[in-house]
């Protein structure tokens, strides 16, 4: 959901109970309505499964960044300690692999951490100075909001509103 400036495309069902919104998700979905997202003040167990969101691919990215970090750390140490200016430390070989394990580990962790945070921010369209786009300010407090994009649904706006009301929404708004 990249932009949500008031386009009147969104119908928002506001709920006041976490169990209710969880049940409402499957109820609304069973009527053939596509839910774009559910916003909650805190994580709800089973919501992702109920919404049918695909699993995040961040772990794969983490693994890739880790491998990159490992290679970069090894390349740096090999270049400085073996090729550019070979140095004997503590009577060991130039290529003293055990000595390098801690640095390799740190390099792996560092690349993974920074890589993941950066990937997460990019994929969620977050950057410093970004203006928050909040559908309903109460989702930061005590309300649960189900957002449905009318353009992406075959059902009419009236049907969607009715389905939301039936599923226990305390309010239905358009934004």
């Amino acid at each position: 959901m990249k932009t949500m400036s008031s386009t009147n495309n969104y119908i928002l069902g506001v709920y006041d109970d976490e169990d209710e919104v969880l049940h409402a998700v499957s109820e609304v979905k069973s009527k053939g309505i596509k839910i774009e997202e559910v916003y909650t003040p805190f994580p709800i167990h089973g919501l992702d499964t109920a919404l049918g969101h695909p699993r995040t691919r961040l772990p794969i990215a983490a693994f890739m960044f880790g491998c990159l970090g490992l290679v970069c750390a090894q390349a740096l140490i090999n270049y400085t300690m073996v090729f550019d200016w070979p140095m004997i430390i503590g009577g060991k070989d130039f290529f003293a692999l055990p000595d390098w394990i801690p640095i390799t580990f740190e390099g792996t962790v560092l690349f993974t951490a920074f890589g993941l945070v950066t990937t997460f921010c990019i994929s969620n369209d977050l950057y410093p100075g970004k203006k928050p786009e909040i559908l309903d300010i109460r989702i930061t407090d005590d309300r649960f909001v189900m957002a449905i994009n009318v353009d992406k649904n075959k059902k009419s706006a009236a049907d969607i509103k009715k389905a939301l009301k039936d599923s226990g929404a305390v309010e239905v708004n358009v934004k």
């Binding site: 167990h45 055990p98 394990i101």
Partner: protein, 459 residues
């Protein structure tokens, strides 16, 4: 959705049945192990007659080491004394039966660890007031029963054959003027002496068993009466055990394993052995739960609980690698001869017979579990968990083999029928005792206050 949603804990009991068929199979396995052991012993008694040259070489090196020591060249004494693996002491001939006692000791230490980790795991869950593990806590809770087998074995081997295992128990090593006198060992005799060693073994062993019996009794009482009062008491027992175990696991690591290489020491050894015990115990817990599930028990243990066990195994495999490597790195980097001898012995010493095991140790205990258990799906899939369990359990057997064998039998070690038979016999005895203990209580702690939470565990 998972079938456990209608599970009502208060009126469900599930009892493990130890079928006579299963009993028979385990007893046959035990007999097969003993037969293999006897054949192995026979071959060993024949084979050693041809191994005189190696034995003689070791013997000479040992002599050289002890002479150098007696002459006061401490560093040289460390080196050659260590290289000859402290066995046999000067003036003694290597006895081929030593390898049998080394194997008894190895398996007894290994299985003591697995058994006591059952108690440690349950205590830790109580200490953390963890909910998820309450569905499977009856499995680790049964493990310490096997301490009744291993602790007497340890005591008997120490009492009758201690001088085979431990350099510091050789005759005259602490007596000034004796031809075996060893200044370094004499300096350690305040801690490493027979009465104190036995007192530690019996004292801590008894406390372990007493605390386990208390925990077990209270836990079974909870099944009958319910409520939260017993839970609070169990938390207290768990806390007491953790404190005792923190001290005793380190001391037993020094006593049972580190003091084999008496001259050598490592400040990380307590942690190293504990981590090896812990990850093996976790793998055995996981494997037991998986096998029970395969037999149709514990349907309420779902992939979320398995995921947690998988995370435990993954994390503590890495923890073991971290501790093993930290111990190695410090010694490698500092490069003191009296410390590096430990790894030289295992890498290049004794005609390189321990080198393969040392490589397998790292592959089985770090690399394979790390790669197999890395993804979320692997930790939730039974076959991947079983593969990881196989690597971890066999890998840590090798780890203990590496800790004990080079110091006790030196160049006479190897993997043969003796090792195979002894491990099989101990494993079958362990399986038998644990299966028998599992039948004595419901597999689900039905009145555990956190059971409803555990049944709805979702990660």
């Amino acid at each position: 959705m998972a079938g456990h949603s209608h599970f009502s804990p208060a009126n469900v009991e599930e009892h493990f049945e130890f079928s006579s068929e299963g009993k028979k199979r385990i007893i046959y396995g035990f007999i097969a192990g003993i037969v293999a052991l006897i054949i192995g012993i026979y071959l060993l008694s024949k084979g050693e007659s041809g191994g005189h040259e190696v034995a003689a070489a070791g013997h000479e090196a040992a002599n050289a080491g002890h002479e150098a020591n007696a002459a006061g060249h401490e560093a040289a004494g460390h080196l050659s004394g260590g290289a000859a693996s402290h066995q046999p002491a000067a003036g003694e001939h290597y006895d081929w039966t030593n390898r049998i006692w080394a194997n008894v000791w190895l398996n007894a230490v290994f299985f003591t660890g697995i058994s006591v980790i059952g108690m440690f795991f349950v205590s830790l869950q109580y200490l953390a007031k963890a909910g998820w593990s309450s569905v499977l806590k009856r499995v680790p809770e049964a493990f310490p029963k096997f301490l009744y087998v291993t602790l007497p074995i340890l005591l008997a081997v120490f009492f009758f054959k201690g001088d085979v295992i431990f350099h510091w128990m050789h005759h005259g090593v602490t007596e000034v003027g004796s031809e075996n006198y060893d200044k370094i060992i004499a300096g350690k005799s305040g801690y490493l002496n027979k009465p104190f060693f036995i007192a530690r073994l019996i004292g801590f062993g008894a406390i372990w068993l007493i605390l386990w019996n208390m925990l077990r009794k209270k836990s079974l009482e909870e099944d009958l009466v319910g409520g939260t009062e017993i839970f609070t008491k169990l938390v207290r027992i768990g806390v007491a055990f953790i404190v005792i175990f923190g001290l005793s696991s380190s001391m037993f690591a020094w006593d049972w394993v580190m003091s084999i290489d008496t001259h050598w020491f490592s400040t990380m050894f307590g942690w190293y052995m504990f981590s090896s015990w812990h990850v093996t115990g976790l793998a055995i817990i996981t494997l037991t739960v998986l096998l029970l599930k395969d037999k149709g028990y514990m349907s309420y243990v779902n992939e979320n609980h398995l995921h947690d066990l998988g995370k435990f195994m993954f994390a503590f495999s890495i923890f073991w690698s971290y501790v093993w490597f930290s111990q190695f790195l410090l010694i490698y980097y500092a490069n003191f001869p009296e410390e590096t001898i430990y790894f030289l012995e295992r890498w290049e010493g004794h005609n390189k017979i321990y080198k393969t095991s040392e490589i397998l140790n790292i592959l089985f205990n770090f690399l394979f579990p790390f790669l197999v258990l890395m993804t979320r799906d692997a930790k939730r899939t039974r076959i991947f968990l079983k593969i990881a369990c196989f690597f971890i359990i066999s890998g840590h057997y090798i780890d203990f083999y590496q800790m004990i064998m080079p110091g006790v039998v030196g160049p006479h070690g190897g993997y043969g029928l003796v090792e195979f038979g002894m491990l099989t016999a101990f494993s079958c005895a362990f399986i038998y005792v644990i299966s028998d203990e599992l039948t004595k209580a419901s597999l689900v702690a039905k009145n555990h206050p956190f059971l409803p939470e555990a049944l709805h565990h979702d990660i």
